[in-house]
């Protein structure tokens, strides 16, 4: 479902003397449907950079990133927009929403974007919010005022609203208590069981051991000739 080959990335800092910083070379990995692969490596080794490239948020310098039939490294913006709507979900560490929009609508939005009826989309959103222990009295409020842990759970609910065939998870259990951590791990296991290909970053070692089928150490993708 996800196949990365020969992927490289560098940053050019035009406003700092045009310094070119190579951050990744020859990256390769595969995630099959129904498989969960964990990225490991020290902080700064490029785990998040790799995830962002798969999502099309960072441009690749070379190589290919196939998600389903699309090569994200070469795709046009509108193809990536369609991929994100239909196929590829992403739970980032930060919630970014229009202020004033209710939590229920924030979670339902990916389904509304797919053209699902509003009633069914909100029912699905309500189910996820209950499961993640967000009290019902908060559903009509904007999540911008919520605590870090609550925002994280809203973000997860949003990321799991649609049954994406491929999922990217950036520290989904960070800042969660034991109960909610358990709910999130079950959601991940269910997504894997229905056949989703999952690529994730988990600093929580027990969580990693429980949901990941394999680990890939991104340290192997660090450019050798450090400029």
């Amino acid at each position: 479902m996800i196949r990365i080959e020969n992927l490289s990335k560098s940053f050019t800092l035009h406003n700092q003397g045009g310094a070119v910083i190579p951050v990744m070379a020859d990256a390769a990995l595969e995630v099959a449907p129904g498989e969960c692969v964990g990225l490991v490596g020290q902080s700064g080794a490029g785990k998040s950079t790799l995830m962002r490239m798969v999502y099309g948020n960072y441009l690749a310098a070379g190589g290919s990133i196939r998600v389903g039939a699309l090569d994200v490294a070469r795709a046009a913006p509108r193809e990536i927009i369609a991929l994100r709507r239909d196929t590829l979900g992403y739970v980032s560490q930060f919630l970014r929403v229009v202020p004033r929009v209710s939590t229920l609508d924030v979670v339902a939005e990916p389904l509304l974007a797919l053209g699902r009826p509003a009633g069914a989309a909100r029912a699905r959103a309500a189910g996820l919010l209950s499961r993640l222990n967000i009290p019902e009295r908060l559903w009509q409020l904007s999540p911008t005022t919520f605590s870090g842990g609550e925002q994280q759970r809203v973000n997860i609910a949003r990321g799991f609203a649609h049954d994406y065939p491929a999922l990217l998870l950036d520290e989904p259990t960070a800042s969660l208590d034991a109960t909610n951590r358990e709910v999130v791990l079950s959601l991940i296991e269910e997504a894997r069981a229905r056949g989703a290909a999952i690529l994730g970053i988990f600093h929580d070692e027990a969580a990693r051991a429980r949901v990941c089928d394999r680990l890939v150490d991104v340290t192997g993708f660090t450019p050798r000739a450090a400029a």
Binding site: T12, N57, P77, A113
Partner: protein
């Protein structure tokens, strides 16, 4: 068919712009601008004042005549059209939301009249139907029905802007041009307007070209982003990619200059 099905069924861009150039004497307004806009897409154009983004928008909307280049709307060559045909498009298929609502509204006419007038321009004649549709649109932009007979001069800035949007969208345009639509509004009012615009784009399958200098607004509203400097497009791509991994020196400067809150 839902808006989504209609969008899925299209095989060509709604708007194709190729090499568009406008000069003021020796000075460049905008030069060699090329892009495609597909149904349901929101394209943001950012840049500092004087970067040519407003010139580009007014050339696209036909308010100014471009010197060079080509604009195809739904396959029709806009620059080769006669004045009557182009004005017709402006009334039916296109809409233009001005930064200052006073430029897009008739201040001496009631809220209902402002919305109804646009319907009459496309041939509606039945008073009851016009009033019903106007009431429906005022409700969609969250203006209470009992304000329908008030003049826009009695409205707050945010309400005027929402009224301008209702006036523009009541005739079901397919392409909407917006010039700094959230500029000059309080941040809380801005948020409400952004939410409204996002819902309308999604539910009606609108294509939008939005000019702004506010990077937070484009991040939340635009699918794709074009960065202009000195009349030229220096970078374009997926909005979050351009903002998070900018490639051009100017975009890097622009993004790093934003104050964090």
């Amino acid at each position: 068919m839902t808006a989504m099905d209609r969008i899925a069924a299209v095989t060509r861009p709604l708007l194709q712009v190729d090499g568009l150039t406008k000069r003021y004497g020796a000075r460049i307004g905008c030069a060699d601008v090329t892009f495609d806009l597909w149904p349901g897409e929101v394209l943001g154009i950012v840049g500092e004042s004087g970067s040519g983004k407003s010139t580009l928008l007014s050339c696209l909307a036909g308010h100014q005549r471009a010197d060079l280049g080509r604009i195809l709307y739904d396959g029709r060559d806009v620059l080769a059209m006669g004045e009557t045909e182009r004005r017709g498009l402006g009334r039916t298929d296109w809409a233009f939301v001005h930064q200052n609502p006073r430029d897009g509204l008739r201040m001496g006419v009631t809220a209902g009249g402002n919305v109804g007038e646009r319907l009459m321009a496309v041939g509606a004649r039945h008073y009851g139907q016009i009033r019903d549709k106007a009431t429906d649109w005022l409700d969609r932009v969250e203006i209470a029905a009992d304000r329908i007979d008030d003049r826009p001069s009695a409205f707050s800035g945010g309400m005027q802007q929402r009224l301008q949007i209702a006036r523009n969208l009541v005739s079901s345009p397919r392409l909407v041009f917006m010039d700094e639509p959230t500029g000059g509004l309080d941040v809380s009012v801005q948020a409400r307007l952004l939410d409204l615009l996002r819902g309308l784009v999604r539910d009606l399958g609108l294509s939008v070209v939005i000019v702004t200098h506010d990077l937070a607004v484009v991040r939340l509203l635009a699918h794709r982003l074009m960065v202009m400097k000195s009349g030229r497009v220096v970078e374009q791509g997926l909005t979050d990619q351009v903002l998070d991994d900018p490639q051009h020196a100017y975009t890097q400067l622009l993004v790093s200059s934003v104050l964090q809150v």
